[in-house]
Assembly symmetry: none
Homo-oligomer: 190 residues x 4
DNA sequence: AATGAATGAGGATTCATTCAT
DNA sequence: GATGAATGAATCCTCATTCAT
């Protein structure tokens, strides 16, 4: 029962399957065949739509980053101007981005960025956007907003690692840790 | 003429070669053959000494963690009791553990811990020791030493990620960021 | 709105595209998809019209041989009876059959004839016709017309090889070589 | 029963198997697995020793050309100076180079040279050497030795094609044709 | 008539691992 | 102790071909 316009459907299915497979496996040692089977198609079709394994991975990474971006925008809109930094942090730990499989895939892509230039570029874009958003949000609330933003971004990543490695207390406390440091950074006398 | 006592020498060479190879490559996609060649021996011998690729990786991870532990103990001994937390942080960013190849290998092992139980166990031991040391060092300097320690450990990991991905400013500012947050955590009123 | 009488147009386009593709590539490692794209249609349609890759190749080979035959007939008509052998040779090296892409495809089909019976049959028909034409044309001009014809046919093929492999001087001198040998064969005393 | 110094043995076996396989098949559509099986080893070992399919093919082509060269040198040594051209021709059609499988492989490599630069280089070297040897051998025996050599080389290639395509009379008459043209070229008045 | 969708089969290549010497 | 030899298993990728619309 082949229909027209399957391309976006198939691509979406493959991206989802890739994130799930990598997240479950906890590494990039995932075969195209497995991803394709999970997505309900032959591996040949996966190649047809993406051109190669690397590009499947990239698309999955892009998806994770853009999912996060959407979440962040949503939170930002709902937040009063003076609580924007908190909103961003909350977005980072929103349930959607914070389920174990997604986090695991996320971490894996971080490492991919060490050896794959395209992945590194994606990561840099995401980093810069996050840092820049946080810097803006902190303007007027502390002496060196840019520095504070960098600290928070690094802290968020660090908290992710713990979550990815299933530290039992991590998911629950992560947001608390981050908000507490934010408070310290903004309450500093000055 | 077979030399006696070559075993420790060979193992050491292999462990070093593994770290270097993984660090350079930025991933675990490293062949036993390459590691062995870099260590100056045949891949068959590498298997003979370690039994398999996984165990070579584990040994390398163990080595990175123990190198760090040694550095930390050294700094701790030289530090006055009330500056122990600073000493630990400084140890984390000591040149020996902070050269790009080591950091890259370190990050890679983090991801390995997602899929390899033995690696995860190693990581947990290291994490607990570090957190516990920091907690002790912070006792009396802030209201919730354990919580502060967890924040600092996560922050350190996050700063590592940036360094592993060659963020230009990362290596230089990492230690500054960490010490600044430490200051905030301990200066907090109360 | 499906057009009527498209079949011959489509087949023609595919045959042309096949020759061009094989000629450019210099081998039979040419995909049906590429041929079809060059001919401006889907690969499924190419199959529909020809039934399979082999038959596309055969049709292309047939076309090359028949193009040559047409050229030969044209030259023969314009030649005086005692210059028919020269006319045949000139037809072999006529610009239409002697452009690089055509020659390259021609050579490739020679090799196809080694493994494909249908291609071999085509080749044999062409060979026999050419040899027979030359034999007739040489009757009365040398002692053993059949033998002389065989020599000339072989020589022509050999000159084609050099042209197919881009020997710099080949295209220019080929016809000269062939005519010179023809002269020797017919001037021989007796 | 693994021994030392197997490399040359294995390479030799693979080269022989490649020529045989290509010759029988009549095309380059030959799998490494088949070649390796015929040579009595796994395909992995074939890759280990040659690095890839292309290089196996190249080695086989090199072998065919060098076999021919050896034959030519042998014939040349045994020939009186004024009969050197005949000796070269005879070498070209020596039984060793003229068995069907070798000829078929030879033809196939000609076509490979259309798309593979390394193969083309090999072919050019062989062509130049043959042409140059023939030119020397013809010096003093005809007015334009270089031109005569070019004609003979092309003729030899053309006669090969017929043999590769199993023209029934080809093998037997080829040498006769070539020698006859040689005679014409050298007997020409002047 | 025409095509996008889909796949099965097959091939090159890589690599951890084993074994005889 | 040490190694060259050897391989089986696995993986990415390609492509001719089929099918429903």
């Amino acid at each position: 029962m082949p229909k027209l316009g399957m391309e976006p459907v198939r691509r979406e299915a493959l991206v989802r399957a890739t994130i799930a497979e990598i997240g479950e496996e906890g590494s990039l040692d995932v075969t195209v065949a497995r991803i394709a089977r999970r997505a309900g198609m032959s591996s040949a079709l996966a190649h047809h739509y993406f051109g190669g394994k690397d590009q499947i991975f990239l698309a999955a990474m892009r998806r994770i980053l853009s999912d996060f971006g959407a979440e962040a925008r949503r939170e930002l809109k709902a937040a009063p101007p003076q609580r924007r930094a908190e909103a961003i942090i909350r977005a980072c730990f929103a349930p959607a981005s914070f389920d174990p499989v997604t986090i695991s895939a996320w971490m894996t892509f971080y490492v991919l960025a060490q050896s794959d230039d395209a992945a590194l570029r994606l990561w840099r874009i995401y980093q810069r956007r996050l840092t820049s958003n946080l810097t803006h949000a902190l303007r007027g609330r502390c002496r060196d907003p840019r520095q504070a933003a960098q600290v928070l971004v690094a802290l968020i990543d660090g908290l992710y690692i713990r979550a990815a490695l299933h530290e039992p207390d991590a998911p629950g406390r992560a947001i608390g840790h981050a908000l507490r440091v934010l408070a310290l950074l903004t309450e500093a006398p000055g």
